[in-house]
């Protein structure tokens, strides 16, 4: 078990080490600068820190990567959140005339939290998760990733494990960052199928015709439903839980036959859902049940706001010690949240001596301090379990970098044209 027992009381000692030697600052800065296509993008970005004793500070902003590093190493935040890119430097927002300081752009984000599934989870509740209910996150990621790419045309998605009970998605495309509040809320509502609070029993309502998006989502859910709901969650194990399933509107005439089948033979589930093809009046009760148990539950309010602050990737979760690491979608089926390294583990791995490093040290002494520091840091995290997650982040950045190149070329092309127009104009004026 690569967890190396984590104790929250050790955070004050571990965090300084983490920020000095392991946090991937250069990749982080590269990400948030977005290739320098827009001026001051990084400088106008809001960060918020939660410090020791729950002290919360907003409107932090930094001019360079170096300043970011120094400040984080000095303040040692327990939690780091990322906010919007504003019209002015957030750290100077009080000096700006009221009304002119505005949030301009931000990634489109989604937050899937396991507690939102409590009414359909039998294995855990509240902040707990286990390998059984983790399947819900896999389903959520597959459905949302497909929709955001294929339906909405986004390309640069970063999925991050939150550190305890959920996942976040950062959509980083240029078009996504420029979306208005109305557009963000429309996207979130398009992606929402499970609606209703404590007082609503039937949370999914389907009617004819079934939108292609729902069909795509159903095919994902169906793939996992048998394993997840029937086997792992065991929704048919007891009369009580079958009753709960049956409390959802199913035509009464099917109740008895359903009970018989479901009580005795679980593998007849597929037969059951095929044989009852009721199409009149949109009676898609079997699909609705599957969706109610498995379809992703988003918090629309998180996605709506341009100025909403969300936990930063590579932030530490103070309660579990786990690092918020990027998730590699190619390895999604084998991703195990309990294998995600904790801060205590990686700090411990850092301390272990490695033979082949002794020689490199001599060479490095000649370089300047910052580069040396950076190189040391790269060497450092590569020795720890954090390495493979930083690689995922690197690949994500590389893919985006190619699009930045395109943007820069376009922009410089524009500059050239406008400059030549200017010259022509000047030549007319002076003849």
């Amino acid at each position: 078990m690569p967890t190396s027992d984590y104790d929250p009381a050790c955070l004050p000692d571990l965090l300084p080490l983490y920020y000095r030697r392991l946090f991937p600052f250069s990749q982080y800065y590269r990400w948030l600068s977005y290739g320098g296509v827009s001026k001051n993008y990084f400088q106008n970005r809001e960060f918020s820190f939660t410090l020791k004793d729950d002290i919360y500070v907003r409107y932090q902003s930094f001019t360079t990567q170096n300043e970011l590093e120094k400040e984080m190493q000095k303040m040692v935040p327990y939690k780091v959140d990322i906010g919007a890119v504003y019209s002015h430097r957030p750290s100077q927002h009080n000096a700006v005339k009221s009304g002119t300081f505005q949030a301009l752009e931000k990634e489109l984000v989604f937050d899937i939290d396991m507690t939102d599934y409590d009414d359909v989870r039998r294995c855990c509740s509240a902040a707990d998760i286990c390998s059984k209910c983790w399947t819900l996150m896999i389903i959520a990621i597959r459905i949302l990733d497909r929709a955001l790419r294929e339906d909405f045309g986004f390309h640069h998605l970063l999925w991050v494990y939150s550190g305890r009970r959920g996942v976040h998605c950062w959509v980083c495309d240029d078009a996504a960052r420029k979306l208005s509040v109305a557009a963000r809320s429309a996207v979130a509502e398009y992606l929402s199928l499970v609606k209703g609070g404590e007082e609503t029993l039937r949370k999914v309502v389907l009617s004819d015709p079934i939108h292609p998006f729902i069909n795509h989502s159903l095919s994902v859910v169906e793939r996992y439903f048998q394993q997840y709901a029937i086997v792992e969650q065991d929704i048919l194990c007891s009369k009580e839980s079958v009753d709960k399933v049956l409390s959802l509107p199913i035509p009464v005439k099917f109740h008895n036959s359903l009970c018989q089948f479901w009580y005795h033979i679980k593998k007849y589930w597929k037969y059951l859902s095929c044989s009852h093809n009721i199409k009149k009046g949109g009676q898609y009760f079997d699909k609705e049940i599957m969706l109610q148990y498995c379809y992703p539950r988003l918090d629309v309010n998180v996605s709506k706001g341009v100025n909403h602050l969300l936990k930063s990737p590579f932030s530490v979760h103070p309660k579990t010690g786990r690092i918020s690491v990027p998730i590699d979608l190619k390895e999604l089926n084998t991703f195990d949240p309990f294998e995600v390294p904790t801060i205590s583990l990686i700090c411990e791995e850092l301390e272990r001596p490695r033979a082949d490093e002794a020689e490199e040290d001599d060479v490095k002494d000649k370089e300047n301090e910052q580069e040396a520091g950076e190189r040391r840091r790269i060497r450092d995290y590569k020795r720890t379990s954090l390495a493979k997650y930083v690689k995922v982040f690197d690949r994500f950045l590389e893919a985006m970098a190619r699009s930045w190149k395109g943007e820069m070329l376009k922009k410089s092309g524009e500059l050239e044209t406008s400059f030549s127009v200017f010259l022509t104009f000047m030549s007319f004026t002076y003849t």
């Binding site: 939102d116 599934y117 409590d118 557009a183 809320s185 429309a186 609503t200 918090d299």
Partner: protein
């Protein structure tokens, strides 16, 4: 626009050109002179129209037959030219009144959009195309081959679309950002960031254009407002116009400090509307409420007269019984209570939510207890709850229609609940705010049915003819919202 005492008459030809279409984008402001009386009258009538659009939109599913019939009935019959001229002028007058705050703008844009959509849908198909041409609206169409490939998907995503329709008519392709209403309700096919819109849905794209233009125009109007406001004849009118739509917003607490915390449990049983009673009970049982619930209930409590100190004590004492210790409360939750009272952040003194806001915004999800029970709860659970609250069975049947329908007037039903609870035939008020329910209930229970008297008193206080007019149409609107 120029304001003079005299009215200029227009030449015949000019008339025909300017108003040759019954619908317009309001790109150009009117250039004629009108009298102050016309200024007043036009503005009030358009406001009445927009308020009607709003009410019909809440009680009927928008664009359904019932909705269209109702709106048809409301649009008065005068000469077509006069109608269009009035439409043009009154729109611009109301822009002046409604450009000032975010809330006003949002309301104005929403109603103008609904009105525009209704009118556009009334147009004959040929006129629709004419309108597009006249206003230079050109949208990208999908090639025949792409249509063929996507035919099934298109049919499955758009209501009322058949195979033949896809083949015969154009399908438009726009970036999804330009078709948000369709995206939000998932009524359109999306591929690679584009929305594929069938011809009969073109109104959505046009509406989007309309909204964008109007939004920009309002922002510009706001900037030039100071010049208009300096005209003393107009200033009082404009400010009356912008307050008229809100009605009482309970932002000014009348009974500050008159309620004690001990009274709240009893009051919740007697005078709280069902939504607040529900929230109160959830808070007492779980010793916690999520953000949506805290806002809806907290602001309501502020509206009935709780002071900031009382509110802090109330919330802290309840949360502390649960998983939150006093320290954590002070750090995490006290800020939000103070924020509600306008003591933090940008110091906005938030107003308690009206019924419309509770019903239409921020629907509850898993773990939430806010919202309107008549709108957001399962009928079965609602019945059970009413039984627990000792409403008679016949009363319950009246309050919970067995057919679940979007057309239920939720606040009407809430008032019916009040009637059943208090065994009264006629409530004497039409509900649009939870705090109004509380006030009326308290009034009723203290024996004073002084509602009629209050109206007379206020009428005596009205001075200007304009205020009379506004009061008149407010009354007419109330009538409209009463159960048919």
């Amino acid at each position: 626009m120029q304001f003079s005492g005299r009215r200029k008459k227009l030449i015949g030809n000019f008339q025909n050109d300017l108003y040759d279409q019954c619908l317009q984008f309001y790109g150009q402001p009117p250039l004629e002179n009108i009298s102050l009386t016309e200024f007043e009258t036009f503005a009030v009538e358009r406001l009445k129209l927009l308020k009607t659009v709003e009410n019909v939109g809440v009680s009927c599913v928008k664009n359904s037959e019932q909705y269209t019939k109702k709106l048809d009935a409301e649009i008065s019959r005068i000469s077509e030219y006069e109608k269009r001229r009035k439409d043009h002028i009154s729109h611009f007058i109301l822009r002046l009144a409604y450009c000032q705050t975010e809330d006003l703008r949002r309301w104005f844009i929403q109603q103008e959009m609904d009105l525009f959509r209704y009118r556009f849908n009334c147009l004959h198909s040929k006129h629709k195309t004419d309108f597009l041409h006249k206003n230079n609206l050109k949208y990208e169409t999908v090639s025949a081959e792409e249509k063929k490939n996507l035919k099934d998907k298109l049919i499955a995503s758009s209501y009322g679309l058949s195979g033949t329709k896809v083949e015969e008519h154009d399908v438009y392709k726009v970036p999804f950002q330009d078709a948000l209403d369709l995206v939000r309700t998932r009524k359109v096919y999306l591929l690679a960031g584009n929305a594929y819109i069938p011809h009969h849905e073109i109104v959505t794209i046009v509406l989007n254009d309309f909204r964008t233009r109007l939004s920009k125009a309002l922002a510009m109007t706001a900037r030039s407002l100071p010049a208009v406001q300096s005209d003393e004849r107009l200033q009082p009118l404009l400010s009356h116009l912008s307050h008229a739509y809100v009605g009482q917003d309970y932002s000014i607490q009348k009974n500050i400090g008159k309620i004690s915390l001990e009274q709240i449990d009893a009051l919740s049983g007697k005078s709280f509307p069902l939504c607040m009673r529900h929230l109160h009970k959830a808070l007492r049982e779980n010793h916690h409420l999520r953000h949506g619930g805290r806002m809806q209930y907290g602001l309501f409590l502020k509206g009935i007269g709780l002071t900031l100190e009382q509110a802090l004590q109330f919330w802290r004492s309840e949360f502390v019984k649960g998983k939150v210790d006093a320290d954590k409360f002070d750090k995490a939750y006290a800020y939000s209570v103070r924020h509600m009272f306008g003591k933090e952040g940008k110091r906005t003194d938030y107003t308690p939510y009206s019924c419309m806001k509770v019903i239409l915004s921020n629907p509850p999800s898993q773990g939430d207890y806010h919202g309107c029970p008549f709108r957001h709860s399962d009928p079965e659970l609602l019945k059970q709850k009413l039984q627990n609250y000792k409403v008679s069975p016949s009363g319950i049947n009246q309050v919970c229609p067995t057919t679940s329908t979007h057309l239920t007037r939720f606040s009407t039903v809430c008032v019916k609940g009040f009637l059943k609870l208090n065994l009264v035939e006629d409530a004497g008020f039409s509900l649009n705010h939870p705090n109004q329910y509380f006030t009326e209930s308290q009034k009723f229970l203290s024996g004073g049915r002084d509602i009629k008297k209050e109206v007379d008193m206020s009428q005596r206080n009205l001075r200007s003819s304009l205020e009379h007019k506004l009061q008149y149409f407010l009354d007419e609107i109330q009538e409209l919202s009463d159960p048919a």
